[in-house]
């Protein structure tokens, strides 16, 4: 699904109304915005659906502009980017647009690109691009019409600037706040013209983020910071083996710990309740829980890999078929093949899982930072037996999401605990619990076989991908013909011309291991494989990896442009000292194009130091360039952490890692200098939160190859010493 591009006439055909205007309770102008109407632009069935506003713009008599929106700040700057879109057309300073969290209601706050209320998949700015601007423009025109009416002048002779409507020839002006009540009684103008990109004053400028001051003085409130009067604290332990159940706990010993009031047993977990987290934690240790290990207690990583390798021997569901790849392969004189493996990964957001719940007979309050408030509400309703409308989700800042907070397992767990506790209870997971009971990025096993012509270019490309299907659990309706479209993204539709193609998907679930989206999702896993193998083909053809890519990208000018600029900024082709190397990679996903060059130095014992990253991004029209730069830096460091160190392994049905000493992430001394270059573009904005992560992993391993001649086909690098 795509969002139509701003700046063009969008309302020429039968798009249903997306805006409704009314008088706000307590005075002022209220615009209800139906974001789904925009997503439905090409879907004739829904064009006659009733108007259901899912975001609101309100201007009160004091001129205060409030936007109630459904996206959650996870660090990607949404709270600044979206107000910029509104402010641009409304002709106000962006600081005057105050953003409030939307309450949980799937129907009302549906993310138009996905269908339920969620933040993820780099959609926030993409989904809002046009409707936010249109909302701002519509409000501006109504205020202008109201002023013109009061002055008895032609609206065309008025203009909006800085929160005022002006009539220059008579030197009159009125602040928006004085006009809102009159504007609310006017008809809604149709087809309001949006600014041409060259007229933008805010969009494309680096605006400081609005959420920073609270984040530098300790006042920003994350889910874990919630303080409720009479609140108790709980620490939870879940069965260390997946699928195990609680056998026994020593309640007497637990309660002997000062400050411990209660032990809550669940089928597969136990929680100890205390006056503070420390009492609860000590109580949990004293409780000495024992477990029935369950049916997966034999499981090790090797078992999972064996299952995937076996599954990968049989044909899978067809994700892409172009020509007769099998026939071309059979008659080919040159073939190459490779297997790539990528490990289970934890999210390890710095704010550990937590959720505060107060269950009462007629309702339930939930304080948490979640990417899916609507799903959370239904889940809590199920656990508590309440109706969804009796559940109130109070959403908070997220101390990192990366896909982890798209899942509601932590919220369900907290509700199970709170159901048995009198009064509000904050349920906290220790870091160990957070790592050992994450929902993991799946282990993936990819097998590629290609046919090559005499110059080493592919004439047939076959790619079989085996792994857990997150989509089958998360969005079952999106699985078509057995293909997890997310898992194969960027593999089924690579940017390169690869000849005849056959891409297959095999869903193979690891027994009992919960899996989930992880930054960049399918694009991340696929880009590593495709970009690594393309690099192998270039090496096989004895062609420079940049030049090799460019010849396969003849019809993809945006992809070529990011690679060429990245190469030139990085000094591609210039000589490097011994044991150093440069690697290049391309990522096309989320509507953006990214080219990166990574430089590494490999020490005598194989230690890899990343010495430089050059990143070029074309993400269409940029709303806030500094946010894009920040997301590139962030995504690159996140991807380097994973490629260098990230790995969750299993033994006896348990996760072996437990904290940051054995689930390492990059630290300051390991973070390379990162140069980000933005390509100017007027294409529709693409996502920026995820593709830099996807791109940097193969750029890194390709650099390791350049430095050492060793091809990395299995991540992470720490377990594949070079």
């Amino acid at each position: 699904m795509t969002v139509s591009q701003g700046g063009r006439g969008c309302c020429s055909h039968s798009r249903r109304r997306f805006l409704k205007i009314g008088a706000a309770v307590g005075g002022g102008l209220l615009l209800g915005i139906d974001l789904a109407a925009f997503a439905a632009v090409s879907d004739s069935e829904t064009t006659h659906a009733p108007f259901e506003p899912n975001a609101f713009l309100r201007i009160d008599a004091g001129g205060r502009i409030t936007f109630v929106m459904q996206f959650i700040e996870m660090g990607q700057g949404t709270y600044t980017s979206i107000p910029m879109l509104i402010a641009e057309e409304l002709e106000v300073d962006v600081d005057r647009v105050v953003v409030e969290h939307a309450p949980a209601d799937d129907k009302v706050y549906a993310n138009p690109l996905i269908g339920i209320q969620m933040t993820g998949g780099s959609t926030s700015v993409r989904a809002s691009w046009e409707p936010m601007r249109r909302a701002g423009a519509t409000a501006r025109v109504m205020l202008l019409n109201a002023a013109a009416g009061q002055w008895g002048v032609d609206p065309k002779s008025c203009e909006a600037a800085d929160g005022y409507i002006l009539h220059r020839s008579s030197a009159r002006k009125k602040p928006y706040g004085d006009l809102v009540d009159a504007a609310a009684r006017l008809p809604v103008p149709q087809d309001v013209a949006l600014k041409e990109p060259k007229m933008f004053k805010l969009i494309g400028t680096s605006h400081r983020r609005l959420d920073t001051p609270a984040k530098v003085n300790g006042s920003a409130t994350f889910g874990i910071d919630v303080l409720i009067p009479r609140m108790k604290f709980a620490v939870v332990a879940i069965s260390p083996t997946f699928g195990g159940t609680l056998a026994d706990v020593d309640e007497v010993k637990a309660k002997a710990v000062a400050g411990v009031s209660q032990v809550v047993r669940m089928q597969d977990a136990v929680a100890v309740i205390g006056v503070h987290t420390w009492a609860a934690k000590q109580g949990l240790a004293a409780a000495n829980a024992t477990w029935d290990v369950g049916t997966n207690a034999w499981l090790s990583t090797a078992d999972v890999v064996n299952q995937l390798a076996t599954a990968c021997q049989k044909p899978g569901a067809i994700a892409r078929r172009e020509g007769e790849a099998a026939r071309v392969l059979e008659s080919a004189t040159q073939r190459m093949q490779a297997v790539y493996e990528q490990p289970f990964l934890a999210h390890a957001a710095l704010e550990p899982m937590n959720c505060t719940v107060h269950v009462q007979p007629n309702g339930c309050d939930v304080w948490v930072g979640t990417q899916v408030a609507g799903t959370a509400r239904s889940a809590v309703a199920r656990v508590t037996g309440l109706k969804p409308e009796q559940v109130r989700i109070h959403n908070h800042l997220l101390g990192g999401g990366f896909g982890r907070r798209l899942e509601v397992d932590g919220i369900v767990r907290a509700a199970q605990v709170a159901k048995q506790v009198d009064g509000p209870v904050k349920v906290i997971w220790t870091r160990e619990e957070d790592i050992q009971h994450d929902m993991y990025r799946p282990y993936y096993y990819d097998h590629l076989v290609v046919a090559l012509n005499e110059s080493g270019r592919p004439t047939a490309w076959t790619h079989r991908i085996a792994g857990s299907s997150i989509q089958a659990r998360f969005f079952p309706q999106a699985v078509k013909n057995g293909v997890d479209a997310d898992a194969v993204e960027s593999a089924a539709n690579p940017a390169y011309a690869l000849g005849a193609m056959q891409v297959e998907w095999i869903a193979q679930e690891p027994p009992g291991i919960p899996t989930a989206f992880w930054r960049g999702v399918g694009v991340t896993r696929s880009t590593f494989v495709v970009e690594s193998f393309i690099d192998e083909l270039a090496a096989h053809a004895k062609v420079d990896p940049l030049g090799y890519r460019l010849t396969l990208l003849e019809r993809n000018s945006r992809a070529r442009a990011v690679l060429e600029l990245a190469a030139s900024k990085a000094g591609w082709g210039t000589k490097l000292p011994r044991h150093r190397g440069r690697g290049i990679a391309l990522c096309t996903g989320f509507g953006s194009f990214i080219g990166q060059v990574v430089e590494v130095a490999v020490g005598t014992h194989g230690a890899i130091a990343v010495t430089r990253v050059v990143c070029v991004v074309d993400c269409g029209l940029v709303v806030n360039p500094d946010t894009v730069r920040a997301q590139m830096q962030s995504g690159i460091i996140f991807g380097l952490s994973a490629a260098l160190y990230g790995e969750i392994t299993l033994k006896d049905g348990r996760v072996q890692q437990s904290n940051f000493h054995d689930y390492r992430v990059l630290r300051m001394n390991e973070a390379p200098p990162i140069e980000v270059h933005l390509i100017e573009s007027v294409e529709a904005p693409g996502g920026v939160g995820e593709p830099a992560t996807s791109c940097v992993m193969p750029a890194l391993t390709n650099a390791v190859y350049a430095a050492t001649g060793k091809r990395v086909r299995k991540l992470p690098l720490v377990t594949a010493p070079v």
Binding site: G75, N217, I224, T277, W278, R431, F660, R667, M668
Partner: protein, 151 residues
Amino acid sequence: MTILNVNDQQREADVPADMPLLWVLRDVLQMTGTKFGCGRGLCGACMIHLDGEPVRSCVTTVGAAAGRRIMTIESVGGTALGRKVQQAWIDLDVPQCGYCQSGQIMSAISLLARSSRPSDTDIETAMTANICRCGTYPRIREAIKRAAGEA
């Protein structure tokens, strides 16, 4: 009853002496600016100053902190250096999710209190204790230099 000096105020807490200061601050004194990240001294989210020295409050007992000057993120705006660091963080839009930033700022302030012109190596040495999962390291580095008056 333990008597604590937190941000130049006397506070009382009826807690066991072996309780980590982190939980006393957050759960008992209701000062949630200091964050929990790992509980094992590995991430720096819980960094505070004890008599001016940066310490991880998750592995510092309240007993060991009694009678000493505890400074937390909530009070850094009260010193000139603290304000300079906060402003540099704002000017360069350092935080993303923001969760690690209390700890980062506490480490940065103690670095700048020790050396007014830290080198890149000084910065790395001082800041390596603090994990940022959102990868704000490049901006933290720049912000420290800016606060030091180099930028």
